[in-house]
Symmetry: C2
């Protein structure tokens, strides 16, 4: 018995190392790799993920987990917060899920996702949904086969199975209830703002911004938030992301748009939020399955908290304005901090999710969540998806979709076979507001520190409450521990109304 | 039978992918990785190399190779240059060597090399050979245990076993004979030059050279030799190297010394030679054990050919001078092409191998080869190594070694357990001169193309004769095929005398 835990740890550490190597192949592909190497890199990445799957579903892991059943209980009895007990719990959960999927189906899902991605790139370029439809049908069919593997597991809804892959323990009914409340808040708020659209002007963010100057500003801002050359990198990527290969090897990417300063600055602060979470996980959890964020929703809560709640909040926006004024005196000399604050908080219904503001963003997600449920339930024929998309964009956002490229084809997720993922973005916004409410109550000088660009007090608070635990606790339990209740809409709605009511002169 | 070859290919392709991922971990560590990640990166690299070893020594590989014994002969009968027959031959050779080494010894050698490296870094800093001695003793003892594993293989000399790991089929007696000839050429040549040391002035290479300007020159020069952004990268590293993860993913590194333009320029041309070899291997050999250079000596022949024979030859040096004059008009405005050519060919006995010129370099190697043989034979007590080193430096180069940091502790190889490696550097010089002699005979416009910086004719010739074959042929056979005879000293000696006699006004 005593040997089983070290042996499990050793096997999981090797799997973590292989996953890090696979992650580095991916990071390198998007930031450093010569374009000519795309084909061979795909082979290399395929091989590594296959070996990770093979080693993780090895029967020896199952045997060790079996041997450790009593041990897990004993460990938790001795210490309810035992790292080792959590390690066994999470490894068992991941193992049982991975083991349930026959190797051929896993390969077929991976291949269909890769082919779907390729087809989607072309289809989006040509705004040609019909050419993409067979690939989407394949992905949905495979996801339904995947769901069927778990039908005896007591899920209430087939879509629960998919949600659980991205947000452990989250139920479709819970998300639906949250999103109903959220939609009830957002639709009238956005309608009211639409009548006073001219009250806020985003023009200050547009101009001609030398990328080198933007990079200096971004670097200086991130350093105030916790970035350091000893444990972090910042590079460029066409589709920015954050990743890490250990708590002292966090890699952010951003993209510099010469004509719009918001892309790099707020994009980098967003990725910094993800990075701070990874960097904050306890060192003792490195090279274990506990060594990263607890769920996609919690991860997104961190990026959204720093990007939106902090980055578009008055204190920190004032600090950002000062840095921009130093770097771009021609543009920002005549824009005061209040005008900058207003500009970064402009609300305007638009077509593209990734460009949406804080208020309209949730409706983009709700639309996707609803369509996904119908796709998986089989109540929406996939050929009718563009029509359903466009109708809902009109209903929720009052926006006419001119073509599928700017409609149903805009996101990569479905093409890559990722169905059930979108909800976590909106859950992240809700959790971010809940964390902010709690942090403000506990940190009296929070806004004063942010006004001078100092991220340390909030970072330390998040580190203590959230980051250090990694995947030790199920996400729902973790939220409960920190904010004293389940994920809820009210703090986000209050936060949004509190900010937008004065900005737009709403009643 | 027909299934054995595809299965072997598939297994070897996966091992190649894992090796590429391990290589990327190493490249990243030296060029990109935040310093704080050193410890976890060592774990990741250890895991990957362990898995590569484990998969390559899997009994299934042995079984497949056994099944393919007849197939190899049939393939070679049908086509003496069969890729598949070569694949089986090389895989068998590598497998049998790897399989001979017990897992525990492989681990012990790796660990002792890593510890030796750490100890060496400190010992060199403090010039403290005594603190390094126990680690060197361990490495030598392990190498002797390694050699003993092969004692029934018909090697004539224990040192043959080590040579064979770096230069397949090379014998100690052959190297000793070559080096005896080489020493007989070099010692009097260098002595004659020493009497006319002032005839050549290296001052033009020293000054204040903005690294950004150096980088532009280096980039422009490499592009003329075949570098392109589609398949190559050039980055900075403290200890420059070249590596590749496929024929269209070649990565060079260099180092910019603000006060000496030779470091970056000639260092980059050197690494470019290695890169051209890797980039030139036939696409069909990628993801097989044949997909890289044939031996260390042949690899070094490429770096030395481009760095020295081309780069320090009059035609290409004239081109380089033009680029430097454009980039650094203050420094090179008053230095003409002839003065530059003379400067880059200055011969001067010195302490440090990696800074040595073309002529004295070979003596640094001969000294190491002789000491290595005595270390492995046990005829030299390791504690007496510094004294032996210093005595030979005096004898061969007329140089007094002031301390061990600039003597026996200068190189990383022995610390890392790499004994038998050094000879390949000098063999590379010899092969480079042989290739050059042959290329000049076959390419009448060779020097004219190099005078305008055009590397294509030589690169294409090398590609056709050498590069495309990868590891298909044993290195000796490959040399024989190209130059019509074995590795020899005469072409190198002629080349060196031909250049240095007029430069130094020797008789």
């Amino acid at each position: 018995m005593t040997q089983a835990l070290p042996e499990l740890r050793q096997r999981l550490a090797e799997i973590a190392d292989l996953s890090s190597a696979a992650g580095l192949l991916g990071w390198d592909q998007q930031t450093m790799m010569p374009a000519g190497a795309n084909e061979i890199r795909a082979e290399q990445m395929g091989t590594l993920s296959g070996i990770v799957h093979e080693r993780f579903t090895d029967d020896a892991i199952g045997r060790l987990l079996g041997e450790l059943e009593g041990e897990e209980e004993r460990l938790r009895d001795a210490d309810p917060d035992s790292d080792d007990a959590a390690l066994i719990r999470v490894a068992r959960r991941d193992y049982e899920k991975a083991k349930r999927v026959p190797g051929e189906l896993a390969v077929e899902i991976a291949r269909a996702g890769a082919l779907g991605h390729q087809a989607w790139v072309l289809a989006r370029e040509r705004s040609d949904f019909a050419s993409f439809l067979p690939y989407l049908e394949k992905n949905v069919e495979l996801k339904r086969r995947y769901v069927a593997l778990f039908e005896d597991d007591g899920f209430d809804d087939p879509y629960d199975v998919l949600l659980d892959d991205y947000e452990e323990g989250m139920k479709t009914a819970e998300v639906a209830a949250l999103f109903a409340d959220l939609r009830a808040e957002l639709v009238p708020l956005i309608a009211a703002i639409a009548e006073r659209a001219d009250a806020v002007d985003a023009a200050p963010l547009h101009g001609d911004f030398d990328p080198a100057g933007q990079q200096r500003v971004v670097r200086a801002v991130l350093e105030r938030l916790g970035w350091s050359p000893d444990g972090w990198r910042l590079d460029e990527a066409e589709h920015p992301f954050a990743t890490s290969f250990g708590p002292t090897d966090v890699r952010l990417t951003t993209r510099y748009d010469r004509s719009y300063v918001g892309t790099a600055l707020y994009g980098a602060i967003h990725e910094m939020g993800h990075g701070l979470y990874e960097a904050g996980v306890a060192r003792s959890l490195a090279r274990t399955p506990l060594g990263s964020g607890a769920s996609l929703g919690l991860h997104e809560s961190q990026s959204r908290l720093w990007e939106n709640v902090v980055g578009r909040g008055r204190p920190f926006a004032g600090f950002l304005h000062g840095r921009l004024r130093e770097a771009f005196p021609d543009r920002f000399g005549s824009v005061d901090a209040e005008a900058f604050y207003r500009a970064v908080n402009k609300v305007e219904p638009s077509l593209i999710r990734v460009e949406a503001d804080e208020a309209t963003y949730g409706l983009h997600i709700i639309l996707r969540f609803e369509l996904e449920r119908e796709m998986i339930a089989g109540t929406l024929a996939l050929r009718d998806l563009p029509e359903a998309w466009n109708a809902r964009m009109r209903e929720y956002l009052g926006v006419e979709v001119p073509d599928d490229a700017r409609g149903v084809l805009q996101d990569v997720h479905w093409a890559a076979g990722e169905i059930g993922y979108f909800s976590t973005y909106a859950l992240g916004n809700l959790i971010a507001a809940q964390l902010w409410e709690r942090a403000r109550a506990e940190l009296p000088d929070l806004e004063a520190s942010l006004a001078v660009g100092d991220g340390a007090p909030l970072r330390d608070w998040l580190g203590e409450r959230l980051h250090r635990h990694g995947r030790k606790f199920p996400p729902k339990e973790l939220v409960e521990r920190i904010v004293g209740g389940p994920i809820a809409v009210r703090p986000f709605a209050d936060y949004l109304r509190g900010k937008l009511t004065p900005l737009y002169g709403l009643d």
